[in-house]
């Protein structure tokens, strides 16, 4: 009962935050609303007793991906005036995409696994049940192919990020600390023999 109440509270905030993402004029405010939305969906994961997914949601999405989003928003340097007209321009596309997603979710819930998704509220797991353990036990054995593919995907992301954003700027003054430390006296000091000069 209490969990159901919590579910409704957090889903309401989630939907409100999602609407805030779309309707707020300032792109930075949109990103902040998205952070709130991710937090609330993490709470929903937690209510479904998917502890690990909830923590990863906060760790990866809120902690890292949103930082990237803010970087991108700041890097694009969008003016608030330019964005203001774009809601009506992109509304048809957004509606089409959301209609497709609603259709897919309905298919999953009602058409395919009808008996598996019949839940009387949230199922409570027995004592000592660990979602993280259950996940780990099949992720690295049963789904090992997908797991290794994830590694390849991350490798691709490393290479792509470096090739897209790395650039060598010519004429840059760089300190080579190794060279600085390993310098010897002979490299810097030169003894010059010369005759004594007259007093002036």
């Amino acid at each position: 009962m209490f969990q159901t109440l919590l579910f409704y509270v957090f889903s309401t905030v989630l939907i409100a935050a999602a609407l805030g993402v779309i309707f707020s004029r300032n792109p930075v405010h949109s990103v902040m609303f998205l952070v709130l939305a991710f937090f609330n969906s993490a709470v929903l994961w937690l209510l479904a007793e998917a502890e690990f997914l909830a923590i990863v949601m906060v760790l990866v999405y809120v902690g890292a991906v949103m930082v990237l989003f803010i970087f991108v928003v700041m890097m694009l340097d969008i003016n608030i005036e330019e964005v203001s007209g774009s809601l009506t321009r992109y509304a048809p596309l957004g509606l089409i995409i959301s209609a497709i997603m609603v259709f897919e979710l309905m298919q999953i819930i009602w058409l395919r696994g009808s008996e598996r998704f019949v839940l009387e509220g949230f199922a409570s797991m027995p004592e000592g049940y660990s979602n993280t353990k259950a996940l780990g036990a099949i992720l690295y054995t049963e789904h090992v192919y997908a797991f290794e593919l994830a590694a390849v995907l991350l490798l691709l992301a490393i290479v792509a990020a470096i090739t897209l954003t790395m650039r060598k700027r010519p004429g840059l003054k760089v300190q080579d600390i190794n060279q600085q430390v390993s310098v010897r006296r002979e490299d810097r000091v030169r003894m010059v023999k010369m005759d004594a000069e007259e007093r002036q």
Binding site: M74, L135, G136, I138, Y140, L154, A157, I158
Partner: protein, 167 residues
């Protein structure tokens, strides 16, 4: 009954903590009952709910929300108001603001952030593996070894390419 779903039963009896991979018929039935939540509804009081561990977090969240709302409301109600252009203007430690706060910054920050995310995800994959190491056994060890080896290739690449250097 749906033998395609592998399932691990952990920590119910102390002798089965290591986890049983596979689908014993009784186990699969148990799991479905958990999913549907019919049998364990009755002895809900006996089972310690995982969510009870998070009750302090919820209380903390509630208290901090209340404090935030109360402080803002008090400031709004009791403040003398009187906003003028000078008061609302942005300031920078006493200087005149000399730049817009929405200025561009270097793409290298982006590179550092994305490299951080990638290795953050790698660590996220390590956690369930470390917990269920006794269940996944040698096969899991090898599969994690391959996973890490692939990412080490990327790590060497970025090191040699100089992406980790801040010049």
């Amino acid at each position: 009954m749906r033998s395609c779903i592998p399932y691990v039963r952990l920590g119910i009896n102390h002798d089965s903590i290591g986890g049983v991979i596979g689908s014993h018929s009784t186990d699969t039935m148990r799991r479905d009952e958990w999913l549907i939540g019919s049998q364990f509804q009755s002895d809900k009081n006996k089972a310690v709910n995982m969510l009870q561990n998070y009750l302090p977090v919820l209380i903390f969240l509630g208290i901090s929300t209340v404090i935030g709302i109360v402080l803002l409301t008090l400031g709004f109600l009791l403040g003398s108001g009187g906003k003028d252009a000078e008061k609302l203007s942005p300031y920078e430690c006493g200087f005149e603001a000399f730049e817009d706060s929405r200025g561009r910054f270097d793409v290298r920050y982006y590179l550092v952030a994305i490299l951080f995310i990638i290795f953050d995800l790698e660590i996220a994959f390590l956690f369930p593996w470390a917990i269920s190491l006794d269940a996944v056994g040698g096969f899991g060890l090898v599969s994690m070894g391959i996973f890490l080896a692939i990412l080490v290739v990327g790590f060497i690449y970025e090191w040699k390419k100089g992406a980790l250097e801040w010049d």
